[in-house]
Symmetry: D2
Subunit: 108 residues, 4 copies
């Protein structure tokens, strides 16, 4: 099921040539990187507020919005979710049962 | 490969019973939801700054940090990445080639 | 000139009884604290993006937006900018030439 | 009292020539604009979390941290708080009793 990120990224890639009027994502591309990053920041705040609300459905919804807009950002920068997943897997380790490596510098 | 999110979530779940001294994630759980959400906000800002830098490796690294801490948040709230991926899939549509549904309310 | 914060806060306080249709601030109050906090998060991201752009006018504009929405937040919580300024002054020290005290816990 | 912003900005300006070891602010300057902007983002998230907590003292503390780091950002960009306050005053209007102008584009 989690291949949805990869499939969604393929769709986002395909939208790059589309007219800004044709879709929400095409309009985001047309508005430029700052508009996309503004959405990433907005959705992060909404995710935090949802988590504080304790409403499960709202958390799922806002986290989906946040991941979606990071996928748009990756596409705009010609990067792929596989690279991010690969980075997590690399940190995660071959053993599959240590999160130590997964935290990278965030453990600082 | 993208099952890494699901496998990582299983590891995060398993860390819930661990001593705060035993790992970074266990210490985050012990510090409480606000500490986890603070990290989500921090990593979102770092992702935005990385994207502005134009350095691909840095973007991948910071996006991995952001996704990782949203996974910790989901675990702390007894939610699963499958729910977020399912939400994206639901929006994404069965046809697999329309991002319109994927944007949810973010198109507003 | 910097009394503008105090005077602006007085205006924001006066808007509390107004109809949601009567002004932007009244509509924010009516939408509740989360709507106000969402704006604080948004404007913080826009301030960061403006700073990266290097455009002075844009930075001034976005910082004004950010301070404005923190004032709306303070008003919604029945707090006053004088309390924040007093906190900064307290940290700032009587000597007026040490920022050490001003950084509070942020020095951690 | 609200001149504290202007006086604090003067102190921050004076720290520009100092050794990174000499103070927190000097160390922030030395680490560069991204380090300062990361702090702005962090403090914005902490302000939002404080507001959700409903603890007045915590909100005042975190808002002070946020304003403080926006002042460091302005100093790093050779901008002054008077410019931000002037922008708010300009929006605020000569009449002093309409916040309509104060919201700028944020009313969108």
């Amino acid at each position: 099921m989690s291949d949805v990120l990869v499939r969604l990224a393929a769709t986002l890639e395909a939208r790059k040539g589309a007219s800004p009027d044709s879709s929400y994502v095409a309009s985001l591309y047309a508005r430029g990187l700052d508009a996309i990053l503004k959405k990433v920041g907005e959705e992060a705040t909404e995710t935090v507020l949802a988590a504080k609300s304790g409403e499960a459905e709202r958390v799922v919804h806002e986290t989906a919005d946040l991941w979606f807009h990071t996928l748009v950002m990756l596409a705009a920068l010609d990067l792929k979710p596989e690279q991010v997943l690969g980075e997590l897997q690399r940190r995660f380790g071959t053993s599959g049962h240590s999160e130590k490596a997964a935290r990278g510098k965030t453990g600082a």
